[in-house]
């Protein structure tokens, strides 16, 4: 297990270094002088040159990358050139909003999608199964931004049940939850359908396995067979998908953060790319990549914990 963990961490580091280097090259290839964009139209050439030097843009790209990783080893993500605040402070200030958003979206989707899929599988070809199939596919095909806009119009503007914008009053838990509901629905609803279909298919497959038939033959109660034996195996692909899905959720969070004017790392990346605020782009993408790597590693570990066959193969 220790060697497995070591392998995962090493692989994760390689992925992070590769992703950040690739991004570094990409943002430097895109046209647009960051110093000029940041300083605005009134800046003189001297001011632009001064800021370029401050951002290290006057150095070769390879040197800039090395410098970035060198600073990173010291825990320094650099300074935001617009507000002159440490990038780490900015990124970690925005990160909790996104983690709350995608966390509540995925937890909500699991709480609805997994039981739905399980129930559908156990009641295969009933009207409920067919109806949940239609609903699930409808949920999968609904783009997050469309759900976001319509949920805003219906639940915020028309019914006025939930607020439309922002993340809620700091320190007021219930206000923050009320601000979280619509954005979480917007990005979580497609996962409800996806998880329910996935669990249904897995359950149907597992329920046909020999060990399930054996358990039934031994006269074990149906609930024990389903929930202790079948479901445990049926959720394995779901755990993997959720781990990989964190990356997709980070993308979906971007649209949602824009539509709901919520703070968050997705919107931070978008805004900083638009303004060519390179230190913030690098810092926020680095943190996002690390989250993605951690979530996939955690999903692998959960799989190993749930399935002795995987655990033994490590």
């Amino acid at each position: 297990m220790f060697i497995y963990l070591l392998k995962r961490v090493s692989l994760g580091l390689v992925i992070v270094v590769f992703a950040v280097t690739l991004l570094f090259c990409m943002i430097h290839l895109v046209p647009g002088d960051p110093a000029r964009i940041l300083l605005g139209p009134r800046a003189t050439p001297e001011m632009i040159a001064h800021l370029s030097a401050q951002m290290g843009l006057d150095q070769p790209m390879a040197m800039q990358i090395l410098k970035f990783f060198g600073n990173l080893l010291r825990g320094d993500l650099g300074m935001d050139v617009i507000t002159n605040r440490p990038v780490a402070e900015i990124v970690f200030g925005q990160l909790p909003y996104t983690l709350w958003l995608i966390g509540s979206a995925i937890v909500g989707a699991m709480l609805i999608g997994i039981p739905l899929g399980c129930y559908s599988a156990l009641h295969r070809n009933t009207w409920f199964d067919r109806f949940s199939g239609i609903i699930s596919v409808a949920c999968i095909t609904a783009p997050a931004f469309v759900v976001a806009l319509y949920s805003l119009l219906i639940f915020a503007v028309w019914l006025k049940w939930f607020p439309a914008v922002g993340a809620g009053e700091p320190g007021d838990f219930f206000d923050q939850i009320s601000h979280l509901v619509l954005p979480a629905i917007a990005i979580g609803i497609s996962w409800v359908g996806y998880l329910s279909r996935l669990v249904r298919a897995s359950m149907l497959e597992v329920m046909g396995e020999n060990h399930i038939r054996t358990a039934r033959a031994y006269g074990l109660p149906e609930n024990t067979v389903v929930y202790q034996y079948a479901l445990k195996l049926a959720v394995l692909p779901t755990v993997t998908v959720i781990g990989v899905g964190m990356g997709f959720l980070l993308s979906a969070a971007l649209f949602t953060e824009i539509v709901f004017s919520r703070p968050g790392i997705g919107k931070l990346i978008f805004d900083s790319i638009t303004t060519r605020n390179y230190p913030v782009v690098m810092g926020s993408v680095l943190v996002s990549t690390i989250i993605f790597v951690i979530s996939t590693a955690v999903s692998d570990l959960i799989n190993a914990w749930l399935d002795p066959r995987i655990r033994n193969s490590l």
Binding site: D33, R36, T83, I258
Partner: protein, 530 residues
């Protein structure tokens, strides 16, 4: 202010049936938040407004435009402030008196007893001197230095009295310096203690509100300043929410999360026909100017007859309908109505003249047609405008290929220090903002701005001479003539097809009494209860 540009949705007359219906619905209404309730949330009078971006700096020397200034004007004092209304004017703020003593000097006397918060004492002429002179200090590298034009120094004549001295007459000081970004007065002592400049927080304030809180990407909170020299500010708090998308802001307004927001031009028609209750819609002319520029140094576009053909092939009224939903009017130049230098009409009429366009096209040697490119920022109105231009130019045989760019790439297209791309520009759809002085508009089109912001690479000796002279011209009538002539020169070169100044439609709850500049920008310090 005229009734034609204000629309208001008021409750109908109160009949018995209406009364019963209304009473029955009260339970539901009480459960839902409404505009008037938002203001008195938590027992406080809170004004919730939208800004199109987040705060960037609390230092007037490094403030980047409108949003920062909307906050600064609430927390700092200036000698004079813009007067709310439909006509450009100013009102006294920190100044008890102020006058143009000579063409190059402005004398002022501060009101006694204006206090800086956090124990930084009373505002004196020394603070004014420090605030203005630091911006023109080369070592500070303030991007706002150009706003002070020919400012030389500020002399302190007494505790409250001082003189602003210019090296040459500078009439724009009254329009874009004293009442705007660089006119904010900060505490010398506080700024020196902070190391000469500040970032996103401020050590002290002197305006009607204090800068209480800034949550990045979420909100800025201004709180009533109990020490304000002007009395008691109207609201306990102002919450300024950064919402970049106008449609999201409109939804937030309709959901009751905001008391005021600017809305998109496309929403005006729908709002007029289906106005949310207790809402007032107002439309203001904007200072933005939108035009199609043509790169006179590009091999194809160097042909003046081709440029003139394009000028006449572009149908501005069609663009106003398609892109601005009829809510904006065609412009005659880069200087908006209401400002010195605005032309009553341009040299090229707004409507297309295809016969004339074909004549110019034939004279240019392209009787059989020509293909040109149009670079456009990827915003909805711009894309629609480009499509209309494509359609009308096609009628005379000009094929327009549209190149879309995201903002970062677009805003460096014409920058000659960012590569060779500026040479490839042929047509470009552009939109600049400006402050209420004509010099702010013309400054970008002088020869020295070629490859900086003059992307048409337009160069005219008379224009350059007039631009320099008009800034220092104290005779308003002569100044007006000079700026009109400059726009004639621009248009006659064929390098510009002026489109519009757009418009600023705003909505607000009738529970508040807003205050706007003549271009529709909000002056939050003057917002009150309805």
């Amino acid at each position: 202010m005229t009734s034609s540009n204000i629309s208001k949705q008021e409750p109908d007359g109160l009949s018995r049936r209406h009364f019963l219906k209304t009473t029955g619905a009260l339970g539901m209404v009480a459960a839902a938040s409404s505009a008037s309730e938002v203001i008195f949330a938590d027992g406080k009078k809170i004004l919730k407004v939208r800004a199109y971006s987040d705060l960037r700096s609390m230092d007037p020397a490094f403030s980047q435009g409108v949003v920062d200034e909307e906050i600064h004007s609430c927390v700092y004092s200036k000698l004079i402030q813009y007067k709310p209304g439909r006509k450009w004017d100013y009102v006294l703020d920190a100044a008890e008196s102020i006058e143009q003593a000579s063409p190059t000097t402005i004398k002022f006397k501060l009101k006694a007893g204006i206090m800086f918060s956090n124990g930084y004492g009373e505002m004196t002429a020394e603070d004014v001197q420090f605030s203005y002179q630091r911006i023109i200090d080369e070592n500070l590298k303030s991007t706002n230095k150009p706003d002070w034009g020919s400012l030389q120094e500020v002399t302190v004549d007494g505790k409250y009295e001082g003189t602003i001295v210019f090296s040459a007459p500078y009439p724009p000081a009254w329009n874009i310096a004293l009442p705007y970004i660089v006119g904010n007065i900060v505490s010398k002592k506080a700024w020196q203690e902070a190391g000469g400049k500040v970032d996103t927080s401020t050590p002290c304030e002197s305006g009607p509100y204090l800068h209480a809180e800034w949550q990045p990407k979420q909100r800025t909170v201004l709180r009533r300043n109990p020490q304000w020299h002007g009395g008691s500010a109207e609201f306990d708090e102002i919450h300024i929410l950064p919402i970049d998308d106008e449609n999201s802001a409109q939804i937030a307004y309709e959901a009751g999360d905001l008391d005021y927001t600017r809305v998109s031009l496309g929403a005006v028609g729908e709002l007029k026909s289906n106005m949310p209750s207790h809402t007032v819609l107002e439309e203001y002319p904007s200072l933005f100017y939108v035009w199609v520029g043509m790169n006179v140094e590009n091999e194809t576009m160097a042909n003046q007859n081709l440029r003139k053909a394009i000028q006449h092939a572009i149908d501005v009224p069609s663009i106003m309908q398609a892109s601005y939903f009829g809510a904006a009017a065609p412009s005659t130049g880069i200087i908006a109505p209401g400002l010195t230098g605005n032309r009553a009409q341009g040299l090229v009429p707004p409507g297309a003249n295809f016969a004339k366009a074909k004549e110019y096209l034939a004279a240019a040697g392209y009787a059989d047609g020509v293909t040109v490119t149009l670079d456009v920022l990827n915003k909805a109105a711009n894309v629609t405008t480009a499509q209309v231009i494509q359609a009308t130019c096609a009628q005379v045989g000009i094929t327009v290929d549209v190149n879309l760019h995201e903002s970062g790439a677009f805003w460096s297209l014409g920058d000659s220090s960012s590569g060779e791309r500026y040479k490839d520009i042929q047509l470009i759809l552009n939109r600049y903002s400006m402050a209420p002085d004509p010099s702010y508009a013309t400054a970008w089109f002088v020869t020295s701005q070629k490859g900086v912001w003059n992307w048409e690479r337009f160069s005219d000796a008379e224009f350059d001479k007039l631009e320099s002279a008009a800034k220092a011209e104290v005779d308003a009538s002569k100044r007006d003539t000079m700026y009109q002539r400059m726009q004639d020169i621009m248009e006659d070169s064929g390098a510009y097809r002026f489109l519009t100044h757009e418009a600023t439609p705003v909505v607000y709850s009738d529970a508040i009494k807003p205050a706007f500049r003549p271009d529709g920008l909000p002056l939050f310090r003057y917002f009150g209860q309805g």
